[in-house]
């Protein structure tokens, strides 16, 4: 025992070296609900960001022929309604519709009038969303009778359209992009401010802590909407501002959580050891305090993200958030709520995605909390 060379300390087991983070990851992977949440989130992100590439309509494209049509897997227009549509078009062009037939994707029509028909009348047909490439096949009776042919343009509206005739699918995708971006960016802003502020306040303690925390409480007591209105009035309305504003409000909770963690951490002996080594306050905060608060902080972020998404929708509802034609899930849902009786799909589709996202985030948050819980080690 006196000789160390003779009795070497028992070798550390020859397993793979794992950091606490890696161990947490292993525990996380075993949590089915959390993994399902991760997959769902990934799919929703894919849907929102990659989906628009596969949808032929843009979010601000107006189909005046298809205002508030319900979702359907069948392409529009319906063959049965084309006759009516054609008659309507003929009426607008002040011509008589003598014959109309649809074969597959093509249509033929015969129109007549008292006076010779201006060939430009075909534009009336193209103007309708249902027909395109209308051309004159033959002119009879000195131009009083025209034989037309063209293509029926078939549009799919899987999610239906809104009261302005915009494809809801494209709009839900855009809303997803904006909601997810706002959620993540605002959370990052609140994370950055909150962690640094909380760690500093908690670590330095004493009077500094008192003053810093009273400042947080003052901000807490300010009405959120008031703060947002003031900021929007000062800086004008922009997309960047929304997440800055939300982040600047949400960091308060984060700062309190990190401060609480820090108060517990700074009594730990490794912080004492760092002081004895002569590290400066900032070095200790950066190297010892912040990395050790990361577990609860990550968990809290997963709660903040849905909260931020909700806040953004609230702002949009007040008209302070994103403005049409841009949209977010929150804005879509509030629009849908107004039309719940006439067009329930306007509420259902964005809500499903929104709820799925929130659920997934919560499951992921729960999973992370369990994974980082040191008691399970």
């Amino acid at each position: 025992m006196t000789d160390f060379a003779a009795t070497p300390v028992s070798e550390p087991p020859k397993t793979v070296s794992r950091s606490l983070f890696q161990l947490a990851l292993i525990r996380f992977r075993r949590n089915r609900a959390a993994m399902a949440g991760c997959v769902t989130l990934f799919l929703i992100a894919l849907f929102s960001f990659v989906g628009p590439l596969f949808v032929p309509h843009t979010y601000d494209q107006v189909f005046s022929s298809y205002v508030t049509v319900p979702p359907s897997l069948q392409p529009r227009p319906d063959t049965s309604t084309l006759q009516d549509v054609m008659e309507g078009v003929a009426g607008r062009a002040r011509v008589n519709l003598d014959a109309f037939a649809v074969e597959g994707q093509a249509f033929t029509a015969t129109i007549s009038a008292e006076e010779p028909i201006d060939p430009r009348a075909t534009r009336y047909f193209d103007r309708a969303n249902e027909f395109r490439d209308t051309k004159i096949d033959a002119t009879e009776n000195d131009g009083r009778v025209l034989k037309l042919s063209g293509q029926v343009s078939r549009e799919y509206f899987l999610f239906g359209t809104d009261p302005n005739g915009r494809d809801l699918l494209a709009r839900v995708m855009l809303g997803g992009q904006i909601s997810i971006a706002v959620g993540l960016l605002a959370s990052l802003v609140s994370l950055g401010i909150g962690v640094v502020y909380g760690a500093t306040s908690g670590y330095i303690g004493g009077r500094v802590d008192n003053v810093m925390m009273r400042f947080v409480e003052i901000l807490y007591s300010l009405p959120f909407v008031f703060l947002v209105v003031v900021l929007v009035v000062f800086f004008g309305r922009s997309f960047v501002l929304i997440f800055l504003v939300i982040g600047a409000v949400e960091w308060l909770d984060m700062a309190r959580i990190v401060r609480g963690q820090t108060l517990a951490l700074k009594r730990r002996e490794f912080v004492g050891a760092a002081q004895a080594l002569g590290l400066s306050d900032w070095q200790i905060i950066r190297r010892h305090i912040i990395p050790n608060t990361i577990g609860p902080v990550i968990v809290f972020v997963t709660v903040v993200v849905p909260k931020v998404i909700l806040l953004e929708s609230f702002l949009s509802f007040l008209g302070l958030g994103v403005q049409a034609p841009l949209t977010s899930w929150g804005a879509l849902i509030s629009e849908g709520a107004n039309n719940i009786q006439s067009a329930p799909w306007l509420l259902i589709f964005p809500s499903i995605l929104f709820v799925a996202t929130l659920f997934s985030l919560n499951f992921v948050g729960d999973g992370l909390r369990d994974a980082f819980d040191p008691k399970d080690r």
Partner: protein, 533 residues
């Protein structure tokens, strides 16, 4: 009184397994033990030997990933695999348990009277009001002064020893047959420790219950237990009567454990050796309470006019119970906490130095902590931990040079240099303490303050760490201030001893003089409690 030879708890081929990401860990590998009525069985072993997990397994208190198989019969009734509702009729009533940490095993939100009444009400029915009389009896029994007043106290109003007494009262509430005491005195001061053990013994004489004492402290076992089972790595390596085990141990492991008591002595430096660190009339006050607007602030004097002179190559042992101000003194001497008085390092007067002026001196004055689990940041690799000081004190060093020094420091403390890429949680307590020592040694300090560096370690590991510290002292001419409540370790380490109580020095002198002929009554009590349980 029950028949002394009747076996009331029979453990047969008990296995406890834990499922971990790296596969199953067999914490207990099929052990068999008998507990006879009215006897004291000590289960001895180092941490990780599975001694606690055996009892936890029987009581159905394992962590979620643990499973227990085999058999444990209490008076013919199988306990393993019982549904919790059935098991509850036995545990807490007939088989009860007290834990190591009296600070955390009581619920801070309820008065102690209610907590003691809980098992009574639960197992016997009736109301809390009816149970109150019984609770008063129990408090009287375990020697809580003024039970009528204390019954409505909250745990935080009691001292550690009193809390452990409350835990014992709770365990006794339903006249148990078996009391499982899991390291009941480890967290307590030596004098309190002796009192608690005396209490347990007298209670056993009165009520005749069997006590299963789980401990790593052989001193307690020798004086307290009738039979001993020695456990190692989940197996019972040896069992027998206390006399047999201590006089004629058969297994090498038991022999090693018995030999692990710290021994040896260190040669004192000559009296002419220069003083390297001095603190004269050190006073440290803590402010209690006082917020931003509240006026009333009270002061608590943790260290009261203490003078310490540490010579080059000397080890001063600072002894005292918790709350005696010994750790505070150590930190004040390093100027880590503000304190009044005159301080000198070498020939430099450092009394008025602030943090930034102290920084260059920190290299030469290092600190090693008690808790090897808390003193290493869990998110840094060992390499990062031990080279952190170099970043501050020798910022010009390149990465390769820092790594080279880390390797050298790890080798010096007897660890595999490969350890520097691993994380602290992968190491045992003793290895972590070596890492903490390496962190201090890499800076080549002159003075090291050792704040209970061995208290959290097993005896055999303690011996190794002490040997390491002695060897480092020899090689580098270090001066130690060795703070501990463990007198046998202090005796082996230091050549001068300071005894502290309530922030003051009550006695100081050469180690031999203090231990052989203590003059002060408190010192006598302390030494008496430590060496003659």
């Amino acid at each position: 009184m029950a028949d002394k030879n009747e076996t009331i708890l029979a453990i047969r081929d008990l296995k406890v397994d834990f499922a971990t990401p790296d596969g199953t860990v067999n914490a207990v590998k099929g052990i068999s033990l008998d507990v006879r009525a009215g006897e004291t069985l000590a289960v001895v072993g180092e941490s990780g030997s599975g001694k606690s997990q055996t009892m936890m397994g029987i009581m159905g208190l394992l962590a979620r990933n643990g499973t227990v198989t085999g058999s444990a019969t209490y008076r013919g009734r199988e306990l393993i695999g019982l549904p919790p509702s059935e098991l509850n009729r036995v545990r807490g009533a007939k088989v009860t348990m007290i834990f190591q940490e009296p600070m955390t095993s009581l619920d801070p939100l309820y008065p102690i009277g209610r907590q003691i009444a809980e098992p009574i009400v639960h197992h016997r029915g009736g109301s809390y009001r009816e149970a109150r009389k019984r609770v008063l009896e129990l408090l009287e029994l375990v020697g809580i002064p003024e039970p009528a007043r204390r019954i409505d106290s909250y745990p935080h109003e009691l001292s550690g020893g009193q809390r452990q007494r409350v835990m014992i009262a709770m365990a006794l509430a339903n006249d148990p047959d078996i009391l499982i005491a899991d390291e009941p005195t480890t967290a307590l001061d030596v004098t309190i420790q002796a009192q608690i053990l005396k209490l347990l013994r007298s209670l056993q004489e009165r009520f005749g219950m069997a006590i299963v004492l789980i401990t790593h402290d052989l001193g307690i076992v020798r004086h307290f237990a009738e039979r001993v089972a020695v456990m190692r790595r989940g197996e019972v390596v040896e069992q027998g009567t206390t006399a047999d085990i201590f006089e004629r141990p058969t297994s090498d492991y038991t022999k090693m454990l018995l030999a692990a008591e710290p021994h040896g002595r260190k040669a004192s430096p000559p009296d002419t050796a220069p003083i390297i660190l001095e603190g004269r009339d050190v006073v440290v006050d803590y402010r209690i309470g006082g917020g931003l607007f509240s006026g009333g602030k009270s002061m608590f004097r943790a260290v009261d006019r203490v003078t310490v002179r540490l010579r080059e190559g000397q080890t001063i042992g600072v002894v005292g119970e918790s709350g005696s101000g010994k750790s505070t003194l150590g930190r004040a001497l390093l100027r880590l906490i503000p304190g009044a008085g005159y301080y000198r390092f070498g020939t430099t007067d450092i009394s008025g130095y602030d943090r930034s002026r102290m920084r260059p001196l920190r290299k030469a004055m290092q600190l090693v902590f008690q808790d090897p689990y808390g003193s290493l940041s869990p998110r840094q690799t060992v390499g990062e931990v031990i080279t952190e000081g170099l970043l501050v004190h020798e910022p010009d060093l390149g990465k390769a040079e820092r790594d080279r020094r880390a390797v050298a420091a790890l080798k010096e403390v007897g660890l595999d240099p490969e350890a520097r890429n691993r994380y602290p949680h992968e190491f045992s307590g003793g290895q972590r303490q070596r890492i903490a020592i390496a962190r201090a040694m890499i800076l080549k300090p002159k003075v090291v303050i050792l704040d209970e560096p061995t208290s959290a370690l097993d005896r055999s590991v303690q011996g190794q760490v002490i040997d390491l510290l002695r060897r480092l002292q020899d090689t580098h001419q270090l001066s130690y201030l060795f703070i501990s409540h463990d007198l046998s370790v202090v005796r082996a380490m230091s050549d001068y001893v300071v005894v502290m109580k309530d922030g003051r020095i009550v006695e100081e002198g050469e180690t031999d003089r203090i231990f052989e002929a203590p003059a002060n009554a408190y010192t006598k009590a302390l030494i008496g409690a430590a060496f003659h349980v």
